[in-house]
Point group: C2
Chain length 354, copies 2
Amino acid sequence: MKLYPAQYLLEVGTKLFTACGAPEEEAAIVASELVEASLMGLDSHGIVRYSQYVDDVFNGQTKPGAPLRVIKESPTTAVVDCGFNFGPVSAARMADIACEKGSRSNMAYVISRNCAHIGRLGSYVQRIAERGMFGFATCNSSKHGHWVVPWGGREGRLATNPLAYAAPTRGIPVVLDMSTSMISEGKVRVLMHQGKPAPEGCIQDASGDPTIDPAVFYGPPRGTIRPFGSELGYKGFGLALLVEIMSGIMAGEAASEEHPYVNGLAIMAINPEAFCGAAQFRDLMDDLCAYITSSPSAPGCKEVAMPGAYDFRIRRERLADGIPVDPSTWQSILDSVHRVGASITDLPLRPQDP
Amino acid sequence: MKLYPAQYLLEVGTKLFTACGAPEEEAAIVASELVEASLMGLDSHGIVRYSQYVDDVFNGQTKPGAPLRVIKESPTTAVVDCGFNFGPVSAARMADIACEKGSRSNMAYVISRNCAHIGRLGSYVQRIAERGMFGFATCNSSKHGHWVVPWGGREGRLATNPLAYAAPTRGIPVVLDMSTSMISEGKVRVLMHQGKPAPEGCIQDASGDPTIDPAVFYGPPRGTIRPFGSELGYKGFGLALLVEIMSGIMAGEAASEEHPYVNGLAIMAINPEAFCGAAQFRDLMDDLCAYITSSPSAPGCKEVAMPGAYDFRIRRERLADGIPVDPSTWQSILDSVHRVGASITDLPLRPQDP
């Protein structure tokens, strides 16, 4: 595992996606989103996706440089046809539209159509919080991603459907980014490759019986994932439906049908100026953070932390020390660079050993 | 346990709250909200609250007939000073304001100050869905209700903070109404009176160690409730914070301080007309319901149902058969009727034995 400076990985990614056909500015957005996820320790949504994003271009799923078109709008709302441009380009632009409308109209809700893989959902609500507003977002997937059963069911009907929110403070924002399932499909795959069992209560076999064996999960016949909440899983199911309604149904996409989109994204911006005022909101958020973290920890627990605090801590460390990248991920990035005919030999920053 | 017709209980409640000083129209709203909760099987939020609501008037916490004042507003937002009128009167009016603004501006967010106990949160989002819009609501409590620990903590910092949403279909709406904690304090109290243990993983003693003994929970020293999610309780904690931010912080109430309000309510209305269109939204909701419930059930599970479906089934049964009321609850209602100097002997409907 070598440590690579974030700036170097950013420049590699920008070259990579520019060579895929993206305008340099858009290539930089894609690279920046993936590097930011890696910086925050969310490696599954980080630069490990460089080669997947390139694959998606080659198989025609992603169309670099495709124009984003607002196909319906009002002072508070917008439906954005993303044209299968890179997901981070679409999502960042949607967050910007939500901010513009939110500042003027106090409330904004922006929804996608034809959107590719957006990466880390939390990033886009964080973008809203950085401009002093409260951001809320949901993200569904088209039918092929329906690994998650409805509560009490045995066939997949929903994706891992994450939701996220972010609120500004006087310091780092509070950012929650959570799936509404017990585990992600990607994590089960990693466990299978490692020869490890899944945690109890997360996955089912094709008959709907619980299993901890990733191989049984992948079948055939293929198994399913349970909604988040263990014995109270009807709540996780209800939240997964909230995500499906807000990001899929509202956009006009039937849940029961296969669609070419990868992620359906809904982003909301709420302007505290219309309520307690932007300055008081930040002060009260600071008060909330202090009050919450003033709880002593329970036996066996290290500390009480606000959502996102741990991620921002890792970000500081990795900004200073570099981002750890395993050799096979690095090789797949080099392969992608070669595949698109780019050259990174002229980049000034070099990876450094730990 | 006798069965009482809903209409009879509604008339008793209307007399009761009118005698408390509420205008008859407002008394009917309070009674109707509580009877509706009982009809849907949510007895803890139903007519068992008649006597508590009367107590709240006598102790000065609730002020029947107090005017509701919109103290700040924009085309999409409103802050409503509820003046400690009955909570259901305030919440129903807030939902109406959200509907009015939502129909005109596509998005609306209405937040309370000085609000009493609102009853069943799901009722107010249902009101929005009945007018063809998507409703989302959150409800916090002032500091005295902080029974719930932050994830990994041992002191209460949050209330059971429910959230709710409702979406219209061509038939009954989809309605989710869930707390963000493992159990409600009221339920632990009921278990203690029944001499029963609490389920595993729900409550902690004052040192933060798990317990299943309600007596240990009540102490002194008093114990705490865990956020929803079992081993993934950081998600329930994150959702509880979402509720606190949206319904408390946004309203300008410091979480760390004691306030006279009982519930802080935030209600949002989203108009599907601005997105896929109101008619298509209903069609796609029907498609979603059919797709979800087409999953065969897992072994040991009876059926897959949409959130709220079970409650509406009980409602049909209880509308036909009557609402079961135990003798001590009925006696406390009679005591309250006596206390406020009302008479219910002239009411035409009589309770009937099952």
